[in-house]
């Protein structure tokens, strides 16, 4: 292979110098921001989840699941699987992971839905942001992991940032897709009664884009949970620790325990969140079928 056709270009040194200067100039400030977020948001949630008696947490999740699913069987199955995680001795680590995941997923929803909606509305925004989403999903986080740690200190904050960057795009994309697919005739009829942009959004676009958006939420949940190990690589405590440990010590069993816990967490979070996205009609049909 002859690569002589290529010019020689490198921005590596410039980039290194730039990051260094950012760290020097803003590192302290960002560390403080990070500490603030930790103290006000992440640590309290985690503390609360860990301090609460497992039975209370299980009961709470059971109630939430039941209200969403309205199926006794499934609810029991979910609570039992979470109990099973406890039996594996991973309760505390699961709560630590859950805290980070809840925060990440909720932040994804808060950011992703509006961005997706705006992208569906404005072609130019979609043009501008689509490549950004591509970069978010494919630029390897192992590259920016260390700069993130240098800027935000090791631990939960860069973990949440990395999780957000990685798991936000599918929600945005599928929200945009869903809204774009809404039948033009229905939209026209809805407009003809003088509905405001908001009313159209809430009564027509979002409900009709529902399957697509729910798929987006599902994917975001899955991606976030897939980041558990990376989160532990940048210092967030939780199930990822055990997996890393299993990895370096050829102890699959230990890793698999934690892996099973991650999967259970993912499925429980996903099914519960999906169940709250059911329409009244689907809910009625469900409760008629499953007793």
């Amino acid at each position: 292979m002859d690569t002589s056709v290529f010019l020689k270009i490198s921005f590596a040194d410039a980039l290194n110098a730039w990051i260094e200067s950012i760290v020097v100039n803003y590192g302290d400030f960002l560390h403080e921001v990070s500490a603030f977020l930790l103290q006000t948001l992440l640590v309290p949630i985690e503390k609360f989840l860990i301090a609460a008696p497992p039975v209370a947490v299980l009961a709470f999740i059971g109630v939430v699941a039941w209200f969403g699913l309205r199926r006794v069987g499934l609810t029991v199955a979910f609570v039992a699987s979470l109990y099973f995680i406890g039996c594996l001795g991973l309760w505390e680590k699961t709560m630590q992971t859950l805290a980070i995941m809840l925060v990440s997923i909720i932040l994804c929803l808060i950011a992703g839905l509006p961005i997706g909606i705006l992208m569906a509305r404005h072609r130019w925004l979609s043009r501008v942001l689509t490549p950004v989403l591509d970069v978010m999903q494919t630029f390897p986080m192992f590259v920016y992991m260390l700069p993130a740690v240098m800027l935000f200190s090791i631990g939960k904050v860069p973990a949440v940032i990395a999780t957000l960057i990685y798991s936000l795009p599918p929600l945005i994309r599928l929200t945009e897709l869903g809204i774009r697919q809404v039948d033009a005739e229905v939209r026209e009829a809805a407009t003809s009664f003088g509905a405001s942009t908001w009313q159209i959004l809430l009564w027509v676009q979002l409900p009709l884009a529902r399957p697509s958006i729910m798929a987006g939420i599902n994917q975001t949940t899955m991606m976030a949970l897939a980041m558990v190990v990376v989160a532990s690589m940048i210092g967030a405590r939780g199930l990822g620790e055990d997996i890393l440990h299993g990895l370096t010590n050829l102890d699959f069993g230990k890793g698999a325990h934690a892996g099973v816990a991650v999967v259970i967490l993912a499925i429980v979070i996903d099914r519960i969140s999906q169940s709250y996205g059911l329409t009244a009609r689907q809910r009625a049909a469900l409760s008629k079928k499953g007793g």
């Binding site: 992991m145 740690v149 200190s153 690589m233 210092g235 405590r237 890393l244 440990h245 370096t248 010590n249």
Partner: protein, 321 residues
């Protein structure tokens, strides 16, 4: 016993969470003393090596046990910038690094009915003859040498050694990417009784678990080592890797504010004979590192009492019960 200034300011001493067994043991051992002897709060922060090392440089972590004499650039650069320091010598005889094959390749294993496939394989110079034995699946015309994980110093050293031993024509220089992948490949070969050629080091869990034979290399030679370590010259000449010091990485601010702890860490030392059974037990019985550390303290007063001020011994002894 007064608290070190660092701890008196109510700052926790954050240890890097190390994932391999010896590192975990050292970390827990040091924590035991720092908590119970020096009265500090401690935490372990997990993370990949690169991340925790970066955090050490920026003083987000304070202690990184079991540093391989700066195996990576991160610590080296941090040291140059005066942000971290390496103290102590955890292992009496230092570390061993080299090129290995499983013992059965040379000697056979009667119990598993494995014949010695390379009874004459003694040194790296013999390797070209055995290239078919260590066949590379991706390029079957060559043998495969499993290098050290990508990016570590040992990987770069081995690149040079490949040149020095003139193996590039007969062997592919296969980089396993991560330590875990290297371990898994070795373990798989050993379980199946297959020949395999790889770089490894000690202390390490795998070393206790399996029997390996180190291939001879030309004796350590200062001049040749310079063509290997930190060099990319094509005229490398062979040299065994010198034993390095297993030290403790500490952040400079911590070093300044907790000289008492630094003194302890500098004194902390075990011999290979003391460490190896501990690693082996951790690997086999999956005993948590903290339990092993406590057990060690309880049973080996003679060893650790030299690490701490005399005034602290009784207190430690009491906590270990």
């Amino acid at each position: 016993q007064t608290k070190p200034a660092w701890c008196a300011a109510d700052k926790p001493v954050k240890f890097a969470g190390i994932t391999w067994e010896s590192g975990q043991f050292y970390t827990e051992l040091a924590r035991f003393f720092v908590e119970n002897g020096f009265g500090c709060k401690t935490e372990i922060v997990p993370g990949s090596t690169a991340v925790t090392e970066t955090a050490l440089v920026s003083n987000d972590l304070q202690v990184w046990m079991e540093q391989w004499g700066g195996r990576t650039d991160i610590i080296r650069k941090g040291k140059e910038a005066g942000k971290v320091d390496l103290v102590g010598s955890l292992l009496k005889d230092g570390t061993v690094e080299g090129w290995y094959v499983p013992e059965y390749v040379v000697k056979g294993d009667a119990k598993r009915n494995i014949k010695a496939v390379a009874p004459d394989l003694k040194s790296v110079a013999d390797l070209p003859k055995y290239k078919d034995l260590f066949k590379d699946d991706e390029d079957p015309s060559k043998g495969r040498f499993l290098n050290c994980p990508t990016g570590w110093d040992c990987e770069k050293n081995n690149n040079q050694k490949m040149k020095a031993y003139k193996l590039n024509a007969t062997y592919t220089n296969f980089k396993p990417g991560t330590g875990g992948a290297l371990d898994a490949t070795i373990a798989s070969a050993v379980e199946r009784g297959r020949p395999i050629l790889f770089y490894y080091w000690s202390p390490a869990g795998l070393m206790g678990k399996y029997k390996f034979v180190q291939l001879q290399e030309p004796a350590f030679n200062e001049a040749c080592w310079k063509t290997i370590f930190g060099s990319t010259t094509d005229e490398a000449c062979g040299s065994a890797t010198p034993s390095t010091n297993l030290s403790v990485g500490v952040s400079t601010p911590f070093k300044k504010d907790a000289p008492e702890v630094i003194k302890f860490l500098s004194a902390l030392q075990m011999s290979g004979d003391q460490l190896n059974p501990i690693i082996a037990e951790m690997g086999e019985k999956k005993t948590p590192a903290a339990d092993m550390a406590k057990k060690f303290v309880a049973n080996n007063k003679a060893i650790w009492s030299t690490w701490v001020p005399a005034s602290m011994v009784a207190q430690i002894e009491a906590k270990a019960k």
